[in-house]
Symmetry: C2
Subunit: 214 residues, 2 copies
């Protein structure tokens, strides 16, 4: 094992704390996971924790950012795919992978829920979630255009539903049955099945009056 510089060592500690926090929050919830527990599971003391993060909320927010930015990157990578068939296949693969680690989806649910409770968390959350939603809307719009299909509902609603299923199935899944990925795949299929070709020039009829906001 090579000797590490101070910078490297610090970065490694930070990352281990983040990974440990993700596990702890998923397991016990934000309130249930203690700073002591997070630090110890990472192999450090509480002193190390507070040397790297100013507060418990801060590490939670850092986790939130890590996750949301990762999702945005994944969407962009998919969209950059020139071949549409490969893109759809990649999308399905992503859905399937998203339930592989229940820790991750459980953490996602915990983050969403907690962001509604603390105003300081909510501020950071809204900024990131807004970016992710926008990215997702752009993605879905592009996919429909590529497939030559007309969305069967406002794209923002479709995007919101994907997000809802992702979060909702993560917590409701009975120990692996009906993982979120499966349900998202099913919804994707249903959306496509409910779509008509763009060439079909019938009137565009939304199932509901379009949403007020966004």
């Amino acid at each position: 094992m090579a000797r590490l510089t101070r910078e490297e060592s610090r970065a490694r500690t930070r990352e281990r704390l983040l990974a440990s926090a993700a596990r702890a929050f998923a397991r016990a919830g934000y309130g249930g996971a203690s700073v002591d527990e997070i630090a110890e599971e990472a192999g450090f003391s509480k002193g190390a924790f507070y040397s790297n993060f100013p507060s418990k909320e801060a590490i939670f927010l850092a986790l939130l950012e890590q996750k949301k930015l990762g999702e945005i990157a994944a969407i962009r990578a998919l969209l950059a795919e020139p071949d549409t068939d490969t893109l759809m296949q990649g999308l399905r693969a992503w859905f399937n992978a998203s339930h592989g680690d229940p820790t991750l989806s459980l953490l996602a649910a915990e983050i969403e829920l907690q962001a509604r409770r603390s105003e300081s968390l909510a501020v950071g959350y809204r900024a990131l979630q807004g970016r992710l939603s926008g990215e997702l809307v752009g993605f879905i719009t592009a996919v429909f255009a590529r497939l030559g299909l007309r969305p069967p509902a406002p794209v923002s609603d479709i995007a919101a539903t994907f997000i809802a299923i992702s979060n909702g199935a993560a917590m409701a899944s009975d120990a692996g049955a009906n993982p979120s990925g499966r349900l998202m795949l099913l919804f994707l299929d249903m959306v496509l099945k409910a779509s008509r070709p763009i060439a079909d020039l019938g009137p565009t009829v939304w199932p509901l009056t379009p949403a007020g906001g966004r």
Copy 2:
């Protein structure tokens, strides 16, 4: 104000504690809401709390039961409706109403999440959720039959998706935009749009291999 018997007084205290707990858990989460806080907001002391519930977990479980049994009753009431149009209208009305009180949906999400953390909670949860899921599957099957439509996917998956959207949208909703009821309405519409009449005798093609377990 009439003098209350001991029984009446006790029942009233219990109900007030339950209502207060629902608000507190929705607001602060299971871990974040304290027994003191619950009791005080109901206008009682901690002693009153422990006189009516053996533990914090117990009141949470009682809340869970109250909610699930209420949903089962609502489903049965809808299914008893002889006129199918009225039934569908009632279903839509129910979806719309379910987002009226964010406290309720937030509590639902908290319950789902917490039931996965404590084994003792999970036991009670699984029993109730199993009953609700079964009821929902029966309901959806009956509705499709009444409408003369063939479900576009396994009914158990459709049921799971409704539950997921309900829970997921509750926590993701940005202060009221895209309430869960709206998204459930949209999914309902999409499911119907993706269905074919029973008379159509084409092959039944599920979008996915049917789920292994329930």
